[in-house]
């Protein structure tokens, strides 16, 4: 599915790094050839964007499943796959297989398991996995409890010039908790751990990353105290970045009061003040990435008592719409919104994608940012509809999606 003929998308609003501007974009041989005040050349295919946004395809940093229909709905053209697969991505052969698995219409970038079996004990064959196509190293859903192992991992990652994508929850403090300690968890009687489990883990890992001279990305930072640590680390010039998923800026632990397992996520939902802190941190640039954490879970994992259910939410389809709520709330502008879901994650993975720049891969989403729709669990494209936003009216839909200059159709 290579691009056969040049394509010019006209009459759109280009989402450039410095703001929106009206114009067109020309895609040649799978790459962005030119953009701005360009006109179709003889022999070009022409697509009229009819005034919609011409945006980079989303780069989803940290999904747990490859789910093409959901990704297509959500405008996701590249996804970094977490190593928590069955079997785990802790061997070069598995990484190599996954790296090729989505092409040509979806590029999957495997994240290598940091340790064998994700057990947090023995460092995996990261250099070989990098050669096999891994774009980063991830600790998975778990924190590496052994401080010595974490330091050696970060030193090794620095040498290999790979970013470590870490999960920030002190495992011993969390134990078997499924909720954040507080009034809500106490009222409904869920095993709960203090929110400080996050800042404790962050404090250690930031110190270790500084010691090792390594780049570290925390996939989800969800508490006020944790975000303040990220802010301070950035202030000291450390290569520390932070992400979050929409659940933590849209919902608080109030969403768990009726034991709805679609609100069972990891880390658990936090108190309202932490939710506000996440929104502030997105606005002031402390948060670099918003990802879907896409983890579709069927009834066998979710139609259970809350604490017995598996964590995770199907987030690919709602990622863009939820980020656009922040634009409507004037927390950020459209350029920044797409930097959170495409530009920055691409840069963290070392990809020439995620932004409208000549020479980059022609991964383009045409977006109607106002189009209203209702999120419906039972009518999702994902392999399972476990969304905590079920029934919520929202705005913003991908109208057309192009991967490498080729339009993806249903």
């Amino acid at each position: 599915m290579k691009q056969q003929r040049p394509l010019t998308i006209t009459n759109g609003r280009l989402v450039a790094a410095d703001g929106l501007r009206e114009g067109a974009i020309r895609l040649v041989d799978g790459r962005i050839d030119a953009l701005g005040d360009v006109t179709p050349q003889d022999g070009d295919d022409v697509h009229d964007a009819k005034g919609q946004l011409i945006a980079p395809g989303l780069v989803d940093l940290g999904v747990f499943a490859i789910d093409k229909p959901a990704f297509r709905f959500g405008g996701i053209t590249r996804a970094a796959l977490m190593p928590d697969q069955s079997p785990l991505l802790d061997l070069p052969s598995r990484v190599s297989y996954i790296a090729k698995s989505g092409k040509p219409d979806l590029w999957v970038h495997p994240l290598a398991a940091a340790t064998r079996g994700l057990e947090g004990e023995q460092i995996a064959e990261i250099a070989l996995m990098r050669q096999a196509g891994a774009r980063g190293i991830a600790t998975g859903r778990r924190w590496i409890a052994d401080t010595g192992v974490m330091l050696r991992l970060l030193q090794y990652a620095a040498m290999l010039d790979l970013t470590v994508i870490a999960h920030a929850e002190d495992a011993a403090l969390v134990g078997d908790a499924v909720a954040t300690a507080g009034e809500i968890a106490t009222r409904i009687g869920l095993p709960a751990a203090p929110a400080e489990a996050e800042s404790l883990a962050l404090a250690r890992d930031i110190a270790l990353a500084e010691l090792a001279g390594a780049r570290i990305h925390f996939r989800q930072v969800t508490t006020r105290a944790g975000l303040e640590l990220i802010r301070q680390a950035k202030g000291r010039g450390l290569p520390v970045t932070a992400g979050v998923t929409p659940a933590h800026f849209m919902l608080s632990d109030l969403a768990t009061v009726d034991f709805r397992t679609f609100a069972r996520i990891s880390p658990p939902l936090r108190c309202e003040d932490d939710r506000q802190a996440v929104r502030e941190a997105i606005a002031d640039g402390t948060v670099d990435v918003v990802s879907s954490g896409h983890d579709p879970r069927g009834p066998e994992d979710k139609r259970l008592p809350f604490a017995d259910a598996e964590p995770g939410m199907a987030g690919a389809e709602t990622l863009l719409a939820m980020v656009l709520t922040l634009v409507r709330d004037n927390l950020l502008d459209m350029s920044r919104a797409f930097d959170l879901v495409a530009g920055k994650p691409a840069r963290l993975l070392g990809l020439e994608a995620g932004a409208l720049i000549a020479g980059h891969d022609a991964d383009i989403a045409l977006v109607d940012p106002e189009k209203p729709w209702i999120i419906q669990s039972l009518r999702m494209e994902a392999t399972a509809g476990n969304t905590p936003f079920d029934g919520q009216p929202t705005q913003g839909r991908v109208i057309a999606l192009f991967k490498g200059g080729v339009r993806l159709t249903d």
Partner: protein, 341 residues
């Protein structure tokens, strides 16, 4: 169908089903104050019946009640079984240890199975908070929560309130509710659904509730629920009217929460000496089973004039009879309780 005369407090509630407009009893948290009062008043008639030589009524004759216990239980299961049988229902006990739950069947499938057997009420105990609500959402008959994880144990909250009310009345303190009473609940609050149901129930009836536990066994956020939080047992006992002791739920503990039972008793064991800090006529309660010598000394547990621990057990049967009666009224076509489904 025969029915004992209803209580004399009828004027205190809305008529018919409006007095208790819930299909299920999942928690005290879902109840209004007057609904709690209604259940307590309804239970009085069964207290009287249970004290007669012939303790039988055919109110629920022909109805099938399934006690589905996914956690081991002796006293609560027995209490529900006796309650159902005294009302003439066919009572069946399902022990999870001997059921297909062990073979991997999901809770939902179990619920659907019980529903298909056309139970008229299902009583559920389960180790996970919210499990009874999940089952209730999948069945067509009333569901009674007999304890779900660390969430609620509503019939325990109700029976404790009834036992306390009776004891106070017998002493001549015929207050309508517990306004002005200071009640201490001491023990493993963190893991206790009894503590949560009692906190909600006693507060709804006007009491001031003091919770006392070491920090590791005290959940965060209980102050926001209106409780007064204590770690010093003697301070908590000061001037208390009622002392309710809870056992250590070692089966729910992962990790170490206390240094030793001996040390726990040193700090939180209810001794006769310690009880002296409370009001001179303070009542002693315990939902059982007791660990004598750990959270409560035998000489306190067995005080004839102060301990109402056995009365709590007695009231348990009456409360459960009241709950089974009230929740099945619609199915039985009792006038004013809605159409027979």
């Amino acid at each position: 169908m025969t029915s004992l005369p209803t209580s004399s407090h009828a004027a205190r509630y809305p008529a018919g089903a409006q007095a208790f407009p819930h299909r299920d009893l999942l928690g005290i948290g879902q109840l209004e104050r007057h609904e709690i009062m209604f259940l307590l008043d309804e239970a009085e008639q069964w207290v009287r019946l249970n004290r007669q030589p012939t303790k039988h009524n055919d109110l629920l004759a022909g109805l099938t009640i399934i006690n589905a216990f996914f956690e081991n239980s002796t006293r609560t299961l027995l209490s529900f079984e006796i309650a159902g049988k005294r009302l003439g229902a066919d009572v069946v006990n399902m022990h999870a240890a001997q059921s297909s739950v062990k073979k991997g069947e999901t809770l939902i499938d179990t619920a659907i199975t019980l529903n298909a057997m056309r139970a008229d009420a299902i009583v559920i105990r389960h180790g996970s908070s919210g499990a009874t609500g999940l089952i209730a959402s999948k069945v067509e008959c009333p569901v009674l929560n007999a304890g779900d994880g660390q969430h609620e144990h509503p019939t325990q909250g109700l029976l404790d309130a009834l036992a306390l009310r009776q004891a106070l009345r017998e002493r001549g303190e015929a207050a309508d509710d517990f306004t002005g009473l200071v009640i201490v609940i001491c023990g493993d609050i963190l893991h206790s659904r009894v503590a949560r149901s009692n906190l909600l129930c006693l507060q709804a009836l006007g009491a001031t509730v003091r919770l006392c536990a070491p920090p590791a066994l005290m959940p965060t956020g209980v102050a926001a629920m209106g409780a007064e939080v204590f770690h010093d047992f003697d301070a908590a006992l000061d001037g208390a009217d009622v002392v309710m002791m809870l056992r250590l739920q070692t089966e729910r503990m992962s990790g170490q929460f206390i240094a030793s039972e001996r040390e726990y008793h040193h700090l939180y064991g209810l001794t006769q000496k310690r009880l002296a800090s409370a009001q001179s006529d303070a009542l002693v309660m315990h939902p059982g089973p007791m660990n004598r010598g750990v959270e409560i000394d035998s000489e306190v547990a067995d005080m004839i004039d102060r301990s109402i621990i056995t009365r709590q057990v007695e009231m348990g049967v009456a409360i459960r009879m009241a709950c089974l009666d009230v929740l099945t009224r619609r199915a039985r076509g009792v006038a004013g309780w809605g159409e027979r489904p």
